[in-house]
Subunit: 203 residues, 2 copies
């Protein structure tokens, strides 16, 4: 539970991690200033963000890069395996079931849930597709803590209601709709079209 | 060009829009306080955000809902059609080519570009797949202003370099890598795995 870290800061930690990993084979030490310049950020902000992790920077030397990567991975739970499931095995759900990037963060996509009889009982990228009406049993049996909602906007709330009631601890929601969940429940929304619209409005 | 609006505010406008559209058939007027409560935000923030649009709230009455939707749509460029193309027709690219949500924001996905000879020359969801080596010609011919990068991280920078050089005005990047682009070039990054990792680290 990391309720003390601002979400805006938490969002930057994977950015640092990706950048530092991209330097693989580079210098042993890296300064907050070098990180800040590479990522086009302020150096004070970088230092504040990294202070949430266990990494210790040394004056005039910087951070040991391997140790900093390990500290970020530890903070982000990469070494603490968690199971996730995809709800809605349509185009996006299908893509996420095949996506290899989650395991870098210790997250394993263990199954999908859908209501289409033609999909239920099949496998997608080696992951079983279960009947969404059996969500509660499936989530418990598989130890699913994270859920990814990829169903159409019209069905997202009913899926979320079931998930909140069956022990899932956080939802990543791709449906362009505001989910009503208990106040302390963790939800992140990614509205794909809105993200492109934001860019579109800037040009 | 809306360089005066903070990105954090711009990001909230689609959230207001989705919420207001979900009220279709509801009351004629809605107050900033009602919007704030529904979205779990501060009322002052809502008023400040909406002041960037042409919508005019009236004291003790609020905003005419239909007018406010129109003002938000106008601000977000929904009535100003723009063409987009997907780079990388793998799982995610495929899903985005089939995704119907972009057109709500006036964005039409007109084509995909890939390097796989088995995909080039085919259609995905009715959209042609071109050879990525013909990006420059394709982008010009099709009038593509927005690009969505769905290629693997190892290829994202080379794709971005071509896009920046051929008149594309903004990039939505799904590759988990920091793109080097000119300072005034518009890029938004969506790291799908990192988003789930952020949730994972909170539970």
């Amino acid at each position: 539970m990391k309720s003390d870290i601002p979400v805006t800061c938490l969002q930057r930690l994977p950015v640092y991690l990706n950048y530092l990993k991209s330097l693989d084979g580079g210098a042993e030490y890296i300064s907050s200033g070098a990180i800040a310049r590479a990522l086009n950020m302020g150096e004070v902000l970088v230092r504040k963000d990294l202070a949430y992790t266990s990494a210790q920077g040394r004056t005039r030397v910087g951070y040991n890069r391997v140790e900093l990567v390990a500290a970020l991975e530890d903070y982000l739970g990469c070494n603490n395996k968690k199971n996730a499931a995809i709800f809605g095995a349509g185009g996006l759900g299908h893509a996420l079931l095949s996506y290899g990037g989650f395991i870098n963060y210790g997250i394993e996509i263990v199954a999908a849930f859908d209501k289409d009889p033609e999909k239920i009982g099949t496998e997608i990228s080696g992951k079983p597709v279960y009947d969404v009406s059996e969500t509660k049993e499936g989530v418990e049996k598989l130890g699913v803590e994270l859920a990814v909602i990829c169903v159409p906007a019209t069905h997202a709330q009913e899926v979320a209601d079931v998930l909140v009631g069956c022990g899932v601890k956080a939802i990543l929601n791709f449906a362009p709709v505001l989910l009503k969940v208990p106040e302390d429940f963790n939800v992140r929304n990614i509205d794909l079209a809105a993200n492109l619209a934001i860019l579109s409005s800037l040009i």
